[in-house]
Structure formats: structure tokens, C-alpha cells
Symmetry: C2
Subunit: 195 residues, 2 copies
């Protein structure tokens, strides 16, 4: 969640909340009449992967807050000057020292209270030559029955894993998007032409 | 594209670019030693729809800059306190006065020079009872042969329409993600279990 801006990042004067002309929402607007910059707050994207090798999934144990010591899929904030594919692969390399062949987006979840959108891609590990990066205490491969469900770091991670195993058991994957607790699971037919 | 922050939005002091401890990238960091806030810049999401009614697609002619007077699919910045599905539907309602049944995500494009990610959903118009909103000069339905290709507002709109018609002709839709000029088109098989 963003801290509310108190000062204008363009000129340093205080901001106040008003509805700009041609807008319908309260925004943080600079009170300096020579500036009047509007400071929008928009959700940030978190990109991650579900790195698979055979029947095993890679998880990382976090060496940073929030959720120090808990397990997560490799994921992190998208940076400028990178693509969504590059961002997901970069986080996997940084956190787990692991190289992947990226598959399609699998989950795209709203995390409204944190002002984030989390997107996880399916991915195949190219090898098992991985190593914990500075943000991870350890990196480990898990079979479904060994997933530490009670020690997962984030709801979007546990939901993504749950949907992954459900879909894998069903023998087909879907794209899941929207609310974390009420996501739409798009069947293969949704990608077909209705007519 | 974001303007570079010059002042700290938390305390109003000047910021300078340095690499924070435990980071590997230049960030805008507050020079006030009592504050030291780090101001990250991350891509913003733009959400839109491809509103379909029979064989026709809805386009809006822009009443605002940039690209005043050019045609676009309804789309705009995702707001906080909304889901990606709500955002896409809201933009369609605001710009075209149109109600849709949302389909799956169709294109997810990186627009790196603008520090944006554009996501377009397939959508079915519930009726033809639409009307231009304040940000549109007019709203109109187009058959493929009538699309004003030379007067489209944005590359992600023309690419999304091009892929839409290609997929429709092929009798099946894919999910297209990544670079605007070199997107990965995920076939139905990509959603199946490889094993």
C-alpha cells in the first residue's frame, strides 16, 4: 500500500485532496498555483512464476520482510524498462538463481487492499542448478504432498498453487483472473470464437 | 511516462538518485536523513475491452489528448480500489456508455517507453444502447472492413484489433502477451498439461 503523498514531487509544496477539472475522483493535487501537478495513485504489478521440474514445484523461503521465513513462489514488483515476461524471469533468477522457460500467464489476481495486481506465469525450470539469492533463506523443490501450506507467505501464492494442482489433476490448465477469492477461471472454450 | 520526482512526497525535501542498501538499482531517495524515503517508479496498468456485437466492434473517437480525434478501444488507467475486471468494464461505461459481459484477457502488452502495461479483455455488448461519454467525441460500431486503421489512437489498439480479427478468422482465440511487436501468442495447447 502506498503512503499518501503529503508533498508535491515536482515542486515540494504541500498537496491537498481535490477533484481536478475533467475528473470525477479525489486526487492529490499540488497547492502551489504555479504547479498544480496531479499525483495519481495506481496499482502496482507483482510478477512471478510457478517453476516446475517434473512433478515438483520450486519455492523460496523469504529472507526479507514482510513474511520473513515464510515460503513463496519467486515474485516481485515489475520494474520500468522491462517487459512482463522479463520481470517474471528476472525475479526467478534473483530470488532462486533459477533459469526458466516461461509459459503462459496462469493467475492474474487483484490484491486491492495492497493496491497491487499479482500475475504468475507457468514456467519450466531448465535445470536444478539453483541457489538462494540475497532475498531468500533457501530454495527447495516440493511435491504437492510436501507443500508447506501453513507456512506460505501470501494468499496469492497459496491460491495460485491450489489452482495449479487442481488444474494439473484435471489434465488441463485454465487462465484465472480477477478477485483472489472469486476468480474467473476461463475454460478453453472461452478462447474459442462463440459464433 | 512519469515525470522524475524532484522532491520527497513524504517530507518535501529534495530527492537524489542513489542505490539503496539491499537494492541493486538507482532509486529516487529523500536526502533528508530523518526521512530517507525511497520513491519507486513502477509501470501503470491500462485496462480496456474489445466490445463486440455480432460481427461489429465498438470504437470511441477521443475527445482528449493525447491523440484527440483518433479512434480507440475503450481503455484507461486502472484505479486503486477496483479489480482489473471492474476497471475494464468501468472504462467501457465511462467512455462509451456501454454495458458489457466481460470475456477473458486477450492481449497483455508491454509499453515500455510509456512505462505502462495494456490489458484488453474480449467483451460482449449487452445492447446497442450506448452514448459517448465526456472523453469521447463519438462512439460507433465497425465491421472489420470499415475499421479506420489509419486513424487509430494507439499501437496497442491497432495490434489488439489486428490479432482479434486474425484469431476470429482462424475460428479460435489465443492469449497474446509481451512485447507489442513480438508478442507470444499462447495456443490452446499452452493451457494443457505438458505431461
Amino acid at each position: 500500500m502506498y503512503p499518501e503523498p503529503k508533498f508535491c514531487s515536482a515542486c515540494g509544496h504541500p498537496v491537498s485532496q481535490t477533484i481536478p477539472v475533467d475528473d470525477s475522483r479525489l486526487r492529490h493535487v499540488c497547492t502551489n498555483t504555479g504547479c498544480n501537478a496531479v499525483h495519481y495513485i495506481n496499482p502496482k504489478m507483482v510478477l512471478g512464476t510457478i517453476p516446475v521440474y517434473g512433478d515438483q514445484i520450486m519455492l523460496c523461503r523469504r529472507a526479507i520482510e514482510p513474511r520473513y521465513g515464510f515460503w513463496t513462489l519467486p515474485a516481485g514488483f515489475m520494474e520500468i524498462n522491462e517487459s512482463i515476461h522479463q520481470g517474471a524471469a528476472r525475479e526467478t533468477l534473483e530470488e532462486a538463481g533459477a533459469r526458466v522457460r516461461l509459459g503462459p500467464p496462469f493467475t492474474i489476481f487483484d490484491v486491492q487492499r495492497a493496491q497491487q495486481v499479482h500475475m504468475f506465469f507457468r514456467a519450466e525450470l531448465l535445470d536444478l542448478d539453483y541457489a538462494a539469492g540475497p532475498e531468500s533463506l533457501e530454495v527447495k523443490m516440493f511435491r504437492e504432498e510436501d507443500i508447506p501450506w501453513d507456512d506460505l507467505a501470501f494468499m496469492t501464492v497459496s491460491k495460485t498453487l491450489k489452482l495449479f494442482f487442481e488444474d494439473r489433476r484435471a489434465g488441463r490448465f485454465r487462465l484465472h483472473s480477477g478477485d483472489l477469492f472469486d476468480a474467473t477461471s476461463w475454460p478453453a472454450e472461452a478462447f474459442h470464437h462463440p459464433g
